[in-house]
């Protein structure tokens, strides 16, 4: 459609909003209420413009202006909010006239009359839309001479978000966000007229995605409580990187100041997280700044770990390795190591000649399926089956599934980026719940949005998929009682589900961690996926699980895997892993000839180590990760002061020097040379949005099964948005979540005499876990759930329920 914006002619697709036409034409109008990926509502009235359009005669020809010979433009009598106006063929938009300027100035004046203008003490100062727009479009003076509205200045909406009710300009972005994006309606306007303020019905913001409202607030009303008063925007070093919090690889901006991470904000990656991240990603960084971070290597001398230089430490390791056969050395890295670190680990293993190389946690089944879906496939799917708790496991999946429920395809990017006002999006859109089926062993959040919700017996994933597979193979088959129990629903419902997956144009099956814990479950799942012609998204346990498997950081034989090397090796090099939390494993580690621990804290294992090397945290590395779609994403180091800590490439460089070798992967650059040969991708030039290789993802170098947890148990280790191992050090997140939760069914709570809110210790497997009891009927009888650790991956586990020690009883019942 031909549109003219202030004498710039444009050709735009129908359905485009006038505000996007203005920006596409290189023009500018202020706006506060519109927000990318959310419905336009026309509330702030800032984007007013003079809009006109030609009219057609009854015979279809244009009404002509006799003076110019052009179609006559009929101007709308009122100025139009461009965000809610759709372009028409021949539309003329004027944003520069005196009338428009007067109106913009008037709106700025109105917006500011109840705004406290406390910019000098406001965290948003310098990055505030209201501030910028007031300078650009306001008069600089206010004619308002009365008292401003006074209201609460420090209202804690939750432990994570603080609201300044005076600064709020009622743009409704946050209120709409909760309804439209995560679908958790936890915030609304209260009161009316000039008294309008936002608030919650109950305490807190019960949603996993609350932090995004701090990003989208156009003023300093909603602030990330963890970074309030910590710095000014222009003082922060902004590092655009990829989140290593889960397998989706959300784009984030790490804001650091004087060597400390102050906050994390969501960044735009239209194909991955759009502009949203979950609270685990946003607030889960505080541990990095803990005072007990390791900053210098430690070497055991006379039985005691003492500070040393890197040269001393690596010389010590090289010396000890000399006395060992290389194949007796085990090397294990955590699954959020970058590809570059993976190259380093592989090259070290190769140098030592050991097949005992692994990354952990690594599920029993491979993450690399035949038909891996993209997140865009998921967001545009017309049938989705989710097995697991993706809201906790990989929050972005949850949000992209909710995109699919709206049935609105991701917007086409415009010259100025994501459309500011996508008129296809509406407030309170009807959701196509029927396209979503969610199955899990306990009640998960996503079930609230699902047309079909199933609870199958924990550990029964293989039976679940086999039963559905049976129906996929034969539409007339029936499920016996055991089969119906396995899918958690009657035959006809299961049949309808399978039929919908089969009939869908684009069906996606999301395999959460539970479905990958056992090979036979994953095999059955993949058989079903093939039978119904769906695509799959397998959710790896950590940020680079997919990448490390793809790269082949794998043992040469199943028995040389992570669990095997804890037993079988004589020397161990562990990066970010803490197996000694398990008492029995700790006992075995004591007998090793050499134990090298590369970590950021003095973990249980580090206490047993011969050499402890200070590690770079996930925010302090340069590298590349591969997310669950197989998308290569860049990771960039934020300027964090962490002493002489180094990532694994640094370890390999130092160790190589001590051994007199120049190993591949001795630096990120060196590792990238290797990676380029392997993947034919130049990782130094990786765009922010990542790269999804067109070619079908190649399978792993070596197919080696991971370790499967036990098939039975009384505790289900479950995924958690917040990383359990660091939660105690993530002050704000811990306060908001109330700690790592041991979720117990009310009947079990009564049986074991557990009260909600009680802080308990219990032994799960061989590991003592600390947790806070939450009594809820979301979990089935006879099964407790506890968040996973890298060393205690999701799946069933056996807890010694007699071991439960109640350390502190709280009066408040967290539920």
């Amino acid at each position: 459609m031909k549109v003219r914006v202030n004498d710039v002619e444009l050709d735009l697709p129908p359905g485009t909003s006038a505000i996007d036409a203005v920006f596409a034409a290189g023009g500018d109008v202020p706006y506060f209420c519109s927000q990318e990926y959310m419905s336009p509502i026309g509330a702030c009235r800032m984007c007013l413009a003079q809009v006109g359009a030609p009219r057609k005669e009854k015979d279809g020809s244009w009404v002509m202006d006799e003076a110019t010979g052009q179609p006559k433009i009929f101007w709308f009598p009122n100025l139009m909010a461009t965000c809610t106006t759709q372009v028409m063929d021949g539309m003329v938009i004027d944003t520069l006239s005196e009338r428009v300027k007067t109106a913009q100035n008037g709106m700025v004046e109105f917006t500011l009359i109840n705004h406290p203008l406390d910019c000098p003490v406001c965290d948003k100062g310098g990055a505030c839309e209201l501030q910028d727009r007031s300078y650009e479009f306001g008069d600089g003076i206010s004619r308002f001479e009365f008292d401003k509205r006074h209201n609460e200045k420090h209202h804690p909406l939750s432990d994570l978000i603080t609201l300044d009710r005076e600064r709020c300009i009622q743009c409704k972005r946050c209120v709409r966000y909760f309804e439209e994006v995560p679908g958790d309606e936890v915030l609304d306007f209260i009161e009316r007229s000039a008294h309008t303020y936002i608030g919650t019905a109950d305490e807190g913001l019960p949603s996993n995605f609350t932090g995004n409202i701090a990003d989208i607030c156009p003023v300093g009303a909603l602030l990330d409580a963890s970074s309030r008063f910590r710095g000014r925007n222009w003082e922060y070093d902004h590092t655009r990187t990829t989140s290593m919090d889960d397998a989706t690889g959300a784009a984030i901006i790490v804001d650091a100041r004087t060597g400390r991470i102050e906050r994390i904000k969501a960044a735009l990656n239209p194909d991955v997280n759009k502009t949203w991240i979950d609270d685990g990603t946003r607030f889960g960084h505080e541990y990095v700044d803990s005072p007990d971070r390791l900053t210098t290597p430690l070497v055991r001398r006379q039985g005691k770990l003492e500070p040393a230089t890197w040269d001393e430490a690596t010389a010590f390791i090289a010396e000890r390795l000399k006395g060992l056969s290389g194949k007796d050395v085990g090397i294990a890295i955590r699954a959020d190591a970058t590809l570059e670190e993976g190259v380093a680990a592989m090259s070290l293993a190769e140098e030592l000649g050991t097949g005992q190389l692994d990354h952990a946690p690594r599920p029993a089944a491979s993450l690399i399926g035949n038909q891996t879906a993209t997140l865009t496939d998921l967001a545009t799917a017309d049938a989705i089956l989710v097995v697991g708790d993706v809201t906790e496991e990989a929050g972005i999946l949850d949000l992209r599934i909710k995109d699919a429920l709206k049935g609105v395809t991701p917007p086409t990017l415009m010259p100025h980026g994501v459309p500011i006002a996508d008129l296809r999006l509406k407030e309170r859109m009807p959701r196509k719940r029927e396209i979503l089926a969610v199955a899990a062993p306990y009640r998960v959040e996503l079930m609230r949005h699902a047309g079909t919700a199933m609870r199958y017996p924990a550990g029964g994933e293989a039976a679940f998929f086999r039963a559905l597979g049976k129906l996929a193979a034969d539409a007339n088959a029936t499920l016996d009682e055991a089969g119906q129990a396995a899918v958690g629903m009657p035959t006809d419902q299961a049949r309808a589900l399978v039929a919908r997956l089969g009939a869908a144009k684009q069906a996606v099956v999301v395999l959460g961690g539970f479905a990958l814990t056992r090979r036979e479950a994953a095999e059955a799942a993949r058989a079903l996926i093939k039978a119904v012609g769906a695509k799959e998204l397998a959710v790896g346990p950590m940020a680079n699980s997919y990448g490390l498997e793809l790269l082949g950081v794998l043992p040469s034989h199943e028995r040389y895997g992570y669990a095997g090397m804890l037993d079988g090796s004589k020397a161990l090099i562990l990066s970010h892993l803490d197996p000694a939390q398990d008492g029995e494993v700790a006992e075995r580690l004591r007998g090793k000839d050499l134990l090298v621990v590369h970590d950021i804290f003095m973990t249980e294992t580090a206490h047993l180590a011969d050499v402890v090397l200070p590690a770079a945290s996930v925010y302090e590395r340069d590298g590349t990760v591969v997310n669950l779609e197989g998308r290569f994403l860049p990771v960039r180091a934020a300027p964090v002061d962490a002493g002489s800590s180094a990532d694994l490439t640094g370890v390999v460089r130092a160790l190589g020097e001590a051994m007199g070798k120049r190993l591949d992967g001795r630096s990120v650059r060196s590792a990238r040379r290797t990676l380029k040969k392997r993947f034919d991708v130049d990782f130094t030039e990786l765009p922010d949005h990542g790269l999804l290789p067109r070619t079908k993802s190649r399978g792993p170098a070596k197919a080696v099964a991971g370790e499967a947890p036990s098939a039975t148990g009384n505790v289900l280790v479950v995924p958690s948005m917040a990383r359990a191992e660091y939660l105690n050090r993530n002050r704000h997140l811990a306060a908001a979540l109330g700690g790592n939760r041991l979720r117990v069914h009310p009947e079990d709570a009564a049986k074991h005499n557990l009260a909600g809110g009680a802080e308990v210790r219990l032994r799960v497997g061989g590991t003592w876990r600390q947790a806070v009891v939450q009594v809820t009927d979301a979990v089935p009888r006879g099964l407790m759930t506890i968040p996973s650790l890298p060393e205690q991956p999701i799946g069933l586990a056996q807890a010694d329920l007699t071991s439960i020690v109640v350390e502190q009883v709280r009066l408040e019942v967290a539920s």
């Binding site: 009235r45 008037g106 709106m107 109840n114 009365f146 009316r192 007229s193």
Partner: protein, 449 residues
């Protein structure tokens, strides 16, 4: 004139209540004891129009009849009712809703109240006709919260009608089924705006919604919905009873039929008068309301949101129809005429009005929330308390023009229209007040007279 022959062939339209051809219809039984019962209503010809529609007419015929009558929405905007009804998509077997807007909250308007209280069956019948015409599956009656008696009477009438087979399944033995739920509002003027009303009915915050989609496409719960004023629906009863020709025999070119006009302020007989459209203000004020009891200086033509006119013959002799008022810079609105006496300070009167709108602004959009809701009442307060300066009047004008036409829904303009009209006609009073610190007309207990 060329159409002289046509005029001769067609009798002159009824433009006055004094015309002998005119008879009161909608308000015939208002004030009659016991008129709210089904027995009374039926014994006076009630439900015959509904019966006629349901048993002898197709829905399309009903819509055509209403279209032919020239009935325009009586809620204030004056959109042709038949056209509105024809916007509904054909039935698809899923729910579609008829909503009757009885959230009559505009100062100066009180016509619906007496229908709800004294003639509830007339409205039930109107809703049945409207629902049949558009093949609605369910009806909601949104009654202003303060209309307790009206809501109670409506509830009772609906129950009576249901018991008599006039509501519920298979009405009057036909295969048309329809029922009505009465919902009482919680005291928000904005709920008179149709999309805010739908939000309120759905249990949401009463903010107006973005249009499009219009309610006929996606209204209540996303389903096709039509929202009609009480007297639009009751008019339909009489259109079906007496025919579209009867209805269109009254009124001016663009405004047909009868309308309920309300009058308040210092006149002998305040109240509701059913008159043909096109009757003049003078007829209403002098003939029916008995003339002013105090010396008047202005009148508001159609409810508080319509810009006022000074007390001049050219305005008093204006026909009360949609087009004439629009041409003269005001609106017919709900037809609620308010007479303002000379001794009432116009600034004070506007302060009262502005406070109302400040209180009722929903807070959704900036100019209304901050301008109408916060700034205007303070400026008026300053003026009224004698602290104003002459430049405050210019400021007031500037702020008003910044709000005018820039807000999301008509509520802000409903406030600004009267403000600008008062400045246009009575600027001297503003100036006097600002210059002298006291009102030109200091008498402030005028209502006690």
């Amino acid at each position: 004139m060329s159409d002289q022959t046509a005029t001769a062939a067609k009798p002159a339209p009824i433009l006055s209540r004094h015309d002998p051809r005119y008879e009161v219809t909608m308000y015939r039984y208002v004030g009659v004891d016991g008129a709210h019962t089904l027995d009374f209503y039926r014994s006076h010809g009630g439900y015959e129009a509904a019966k006629k529609a349901l048993t002898s007419m197709t829905p399309a015929q009903v819509i055509d009849e209403v279209k032919a009558s020239g009935l325009r929405g009586r809620g204030g905007a004056g959109f042709p009712t038949g056209v509105k009804w024809s916007f509904m998509a054909p039935p698809d077997g899923k729910p579609r809703y008829l909503v009757c807007n009885a959230d009559e909250s505009e100062p100066g308007s009180f016509k619906d109240r007496y229908i709800l209280e004294d003639d509830p069956h007339q409205l039930v019948e109107g809703m049945i006709i409207g629902a049949y015409a558009m093949q609605m599956t369910y009806g909601f009656l949104y009654v202003r919260g303060e209309y307790y008696l009206g809501a109670t009477r409506m509830e009772a009438a609906i129950q009576e009608a249901r018991a008599a087979g006039l509501l519920g399944k298979n009405i009057l033995g036909t295969d048309f089924s329809f029922d009505i739920t009465v919902h009482r509002g919680a005291g928000a003027y904005i709920c008179g705006e149709e999309t805010a009303l739908m939000n309120s009915l759905e249990g949401l915050r009463a903010n107006p919604r973005l249009k499009p989609p219009f309610p006929a496409a996606a209204g209540m719960y996303g389903r096709p919905t039509t929202i009609n004023n009480v007297t639009s629906l009751t008019s339909a009863v009489h259109i079906l009873t007496k025919g579209a020709a009867w209805f269109s025999s009254m009124g001016t070119d663009d405004s047909k039929g009868t309308k309920l006009y309300q009058i308040s302020g210092p006149v002998k007989r305040t109240g509701v008068f059913e008159m043909p459209m096109g009757a003049t203000f003078r007829e209403l004020i002098y003939d029916f309301a008995g003339g002013p009891t105090m010396e008047p200086k202005a009148f508001i033509p159609g409810g508080s949101s319509t810009p006022m006119f000074p007390w001049e013959d050219r305005f008093l002799d204006m026909p009360m129809d949609y087009g004439t008022l629009a041409k003269n810079g005001s609106m017919l609105g709900t037809g609620g005429v308010i007479v303002i006496p000379r001794d009432k300070c116009i600034v004070d009167a506007l302060y009262n009005l502005v406070r109302f709108y400040a209180h009722e602004s929903c807070g959704k959009c900036t100019p209304c929330r901050e301008g109408v809701g916060h700034w205007l009442p303070r400026m008026y307060q300053k003026l009224v308390s004698g602290l104003g300066r002459p430049e405050d009047i210019e400021l007031l004008e500037s702020v008003a023009s910044n709000i005018k036409g820039n807000a999301f829904c008509p509520l802000a303009d409903a406030c600004i229209g009267p403000v600008q009209a008062s400045l246009k006609w009575f600027r001297d009073e503003y100036e006097y007040l600002a210059a002298n610190g006291k009102s030109k007309y200091a008498k402030n207990d005028w209502w006690q007279a």
